[in-house]
Symmetry: C2
Subunit: 505 residues, 2 copies
């Protein structure tokens, strides 16, 4: 083992660490922007963030990074698929290669156009005016195609989009799973609709005083294992979780005094992200060995705690008496079963972010199909609204009343986030497959939840997922942990059982 390769590896990690420190400053600035920043601070904040992003980018593309990568790559440190050096070179290499291949002019044009496009999208959605957004969406798609050509891809340019959010995933690998999944989801919905049953959802829109929601949410997040010595919970408009650095992970939510679900399950969701972040090896901060794997794996953690734990009957065996104490007026006369069904109401609806557990992935699969079609050129941008509505009718049995309720509802495309949507559905699939394995390994999670024991699941997730940082790609990890490649079997089995019990089929 040559000393100079060791030196190069250390230097590489040191340099990446400095970039990560810079980025972690941006994370705090971003958190503050969305929580406490005074209204008039926005312009200066944009300048701060742009300046730090520029510094970070210029450090990543330094030729020295390329030289160090080459030195380590050609040394005997890189041996085996998941040795430290292999992982470091693979992951830093991916980021470096992509960054140096992007022409500066394209980076700047993308920043410029997506900034304007997001504004245009906001206006267009408000007026449900797709025609006003259309030219900007065309510009964004065109630039993202240029990005794919610049950075390169195997087989399909869309893979270059996926690669940013879900490294290792390919159109081919997920398309087959998603198509099967869609067919089964539609069948599940038909069964639920066919049951002719529905819960009393008025329970959820009774009065839940915000101060009590705060306390109860804090209690629940603590119960499942979010560490408030190493984190915070604050209020924001569009909830998120952000890791500032080791010992500092922040989650956010928003409260509605007349809706229980939004804040509570939002907190469990973000706490799930937060527990992952808090479980990453802090002493590897700045190295790929201290980073999360992919958006899909991150989402699997949030969705598991939100739905598979937080919307389980067993969770409420433990939590419902506490809920009744916090909300005696709203829940005093409601049984735990009635409450549990109400928070698991399934109902096809137009808006993704309001969707229930059973319909959520259908929203995503539709977007994935749309993205692939317009990114390949098979679908003209002009034809997006009609195609959207047709698919929506076919999957959900509903027709959006306008494009605001249809293809204009999400900000993602205007922001250039193409290839991002699939990670939401992948998250649900990963979650169910991990959860089934944890359940088998730990011998009955629901019995534990009913007693308020969430630590065994948290520890299992830590030991099987969190502690590895980015050592394994998502598709490697799922197979390594569960013994099987990703499929929709676990998620469909979980949902058929759960909703079968609730809706009696």
């Amino acid at each position: 083992m040559s000393q100079s390769a060791q030196d190069a590896l250390k230097k590489l990690v040191d340099k990446t660490r400095e970039i990560s420190i810079l980025d972690s400053c941006s994370s705090l600035l971003g958190w503050d922007e969305r929580t406490y920043m005074p209204r008039q601070g926005a312009d200066h904040r944009a300048e701060q963030l742009a300046f730090l992003a520029g510094l970070s980018h210029s450090r990543l593309v330094e030729p020295e990074i390329g030289d160090l990568l080459n030195t380590v790559k050609s040394s005997d440190l890189v041996n085996g698929a998941s040795s430290d050096a292999t992982v470091i070179v693979r992951e830093i290499g991916r980021a470096y290669d992509r960054a140096v291949k992007m022409p500066q002019s394209l980076v700047e044009e993308l920043t410029r156009v997506t900034t304007i496009a997001q504004g245009k999208w906001g206006e267009a959605r408000a007026k449900s005016d797709f025609a006003a957004f259309k030219p900007w969406l065309e510009k964004v798609i065109n630039l993202k195609k240029q990005e794919a050509e610049a950075v390169g891809y195997k087989e399909d340019p869309y893979n270059a989009m996926l690669d940013v959010y879900e490294p290792g995933a390919t159109v081919t690998s997920i398309d087959e799973t998603f198509t099967k999944h869609r067919v089964e989801l539609v069948k599940l919905l038909d069964k639920i609709k066919g049951s002719g049953k529905e819960p009393d959802t008025s329970i959820i829109t009774r009065e839940y005083p915000v101060e009590e929601q705060k306390k109860f949410g804090h209690e629940a997040a603590t119960a499942i294992g979010f560490d408030f010595e190493r984190g915070r919970l604050d209020i924001t408009t569009h909830p998120f979780c952000t890791g500032i650095g080791p010992g500092d992970t922040r989650i956010t939510t928003r409260y509605d005094a007349h809706h229980f679900n939004g804040a509570f399950f939002g907190i469990l969701h973000e706490a799930g992200h937060g527990i992952y972040d808090q479980g990453l090896p802090g002493d590897q901060f700045g190295s790929p060995l201290g980073e999360y794997i992919s958006l899909g794996i991150h989402e699997s953690q949030s969705r598991m705690w939100e739905n598979m734990v937080g919307r389980s009957r067993a969770f409420w065996t433990y939590m419902y008496p506490k809920a009744q104490q916090h909300f005696p007026k709203a829940l005093g006369d409601v049984s735990a079963d009635a409450f549990h069904w109400a928070i698991n109401d399934v109902r096809p609806s137009f808006i993704r972010v309001e969707a229930d557990e059973a319909t959520y992935n259908l929203h995503i699969l539709l977007r994935f199909e749309m993205e692939r079609a317009f990114f390949s050129g098979d679908l003209k941008v002009d034809d997006i609204p009609a195609a959207w509505n047709e698919k929506f009718k076919s999957y959900f049995g509903l027709t959006p009343k306008d494009d605001a309720q249809g293809c204009l509802q999400d900000v993602h495309w205007s922001a250039g986030l193409i290839g991002y949507f699939p990670t939401y559905a992948l998250g649900n699939l990963y979650a169910a497959q991990f959860f089934a394995k944890a359940d088998a390994d730990l011998g009955g999670l629901h019995a534990q939840f009913a007693k308020g024991e969430f630590a065994p699941l948290k520890r299992w997730l830590h030991d099987n997922i969190h502690c590895h940082g980015r050592r394994y790609l998502a598709n490697q990890l799922i197979e390594r942990v569960t013994g099987k490649p990703l499929s929709h079997d676990a998620l469909m089995a979980y949902m058929n059982k759960k909703f079968g019990e609730l809706y009696g089929f």
Copy 2:
């Protein structure tokens, strides 16, 4: 006017602006550290701040800055004492010269030693054990003397200390004023003591519910002109004000449910700093023309709003009915006059940060005399406690029961902040002299305060002080605005009148 000098000036300001953006990121990180950061985030925060400070420093000492300074300096742009270019070159030049003259080894040693010394000071104060702190204080003083030699000075090495906090001030210029001031202050105290009168201070320690204190403090800060669209008020342990950038100025306080003065006058004090920060020209951010002049001038703004406005009888003519509404239990049976006297209680005491308006400067003058003596070598570090106690007895008529109550009470010296204390006293002197002029210009401020009209004073301060940024040095500004060099006349006249009325002499 040569084009290349214009270019150099622009480039110089651009480069300084980038440094200021970096520093403004540190300001936000520092604010967060003292308000919301989770406990376990401290280590990573220290790394972030050290990294940003290193980046900022390395950009300031770039030889290109020196070249640009020389190009502008030798051009015809620099004409007149206060043209834009003159000011920019003078101020950036001062920072640059000092930074490049400081050996890197000395910077690092100072950081290392003051970090340890602050810890040692904390322990020593807790045990009132001067001997344990002594070797570290000696090390700090020795390093600060080396700093003075490295950066250079005129006449007295102590001037090199002052120059960081109060550019343009010199030992000679302030010593004479301070000595006269001390004599008059002791006389004032004697008169107050001799009156045999004292207010009922138990009013102040009744119950003031924290939520109401928050509302009332917010109301008062808004009334005097702190803009909450461009700022915030949060809770911290050691209150401060920090400017993040244009449109974002943050103040902090702490609450005690059984003490009215701490939070309320703390808020007015920090709001005074904040109004100055919000009044600086935002479009000049990063240039000396957008920065505050000195710590003394900054302190003049906070002390004016806290004391000359907030502790005036006229202020409470307007605010007292509101106070009674917020605190009916505590103040329902208290007259405005009794309340006003209670918040103006004068009483020699040991601790600077708890001192009233009349004794505060005496605490500072004592520290200034001590600093000068040990920095010149006239006073051995060993002899500090005895010298402190002797002076204290002479000025206040009291003897500290131990060093924790005496020379160990302040963190400043352990942190290397020598030359900082005088700016507190200068602040009070500037404040009174400005206030007297504003009162004359605006025709009776108290009548305005009694009607809740604070905007004229705020506008006067803006037009005479805030809008100039760093165009004038503090001693130039005071003369320019008031027509006289700084003296203690205005402050003594103000205090003799105010306390004469209260104590009947």
